[in-house]
Amino acid sequence: DTAVSQTPKYLVTQMGNDKSIKCEQNLGHDTMYWYKQDSKKFLKIMFSYNNKELIINETVPNRFSPKSPDKAHLNLHINSLELGDSAVYFCASSTGTALGEKLFFGSGTQLSVL
């Protein structure tokens, strides 16, 4: 009965490969996010989608492309993986643009690029 679920939990791959991380929420939320947590635990927003529409796109290399087929899903596709992409990626959701809504996180995907 997981609220925000992302897969896979661990992803080990070679440099140059293309990979995807999937995220789904069953909370009925309108807004979904991708965050990147680096080795120093710093959490930084990458993308925000509201009702399938891109709202925020921070300074992220265009090798990263989010895809939102519907408002319950926000997948992250990464092309030509680099060593520096190694991190933990968190998907999150909230009820949307309404003020003061709680943010709920998935359990994270630990990406290791070798």
């Binding site: 959490l43 927003i45 925020i56 643009t97 003020l99 996180f105 359990s107």
Partner: protein
């Protein structure tokens, strides 16, 4: 953009001790939340507290929005409280962008 600073960066306590974690932010906010990331990496929402005071068991939080800070109190700490505590804020100019502080790493020793 809005800046979020947390202190202290690291905190080591003996079980049973109390502690106060601080979050300062550089501009007005309409949303402030505290999160706990446990040693297994899971991020749990502790409080939504843009202003005022809330309590949940041994944890409580106070935000003084006019002075741009929030405090998280942990009383009678337990080893399971260990992990990283994050403060995150939302600017009224961008409702969809939640910015995180660098966190306070808490270690509670038995």
């Amino acid at each position: 953009g809005i800046q979020v600073e947390q202190s202290p960066p690291d905190l080591i306590l003996q079980e049973g001790a109390n502690s106060t974690l601080r979050c300062n932010f550089s501009d007005s906010v309409n949303n402030l939340q505290w999160f706990h990331q446990n040693p297994w990496g899971q991020l749990i929402n502790l409080f939504y507290i843009p202003s005022g005071t809330k309590q949940n068991g041994r944890l409580s939080a106070t935000t003084v929005a006019t002075e741009r800070y929030s405090l998280l109190y942990i009383s009678s700490s337990q080893t399971t409280d260990s992990g990283v505590y994050f403060c995150a804020v939302v600017s009224p100019f961008n409702n969809n962008d939640m910015r995180f502080g660098a966190g306070t790493r808490l270690t509670v020793k038995p």
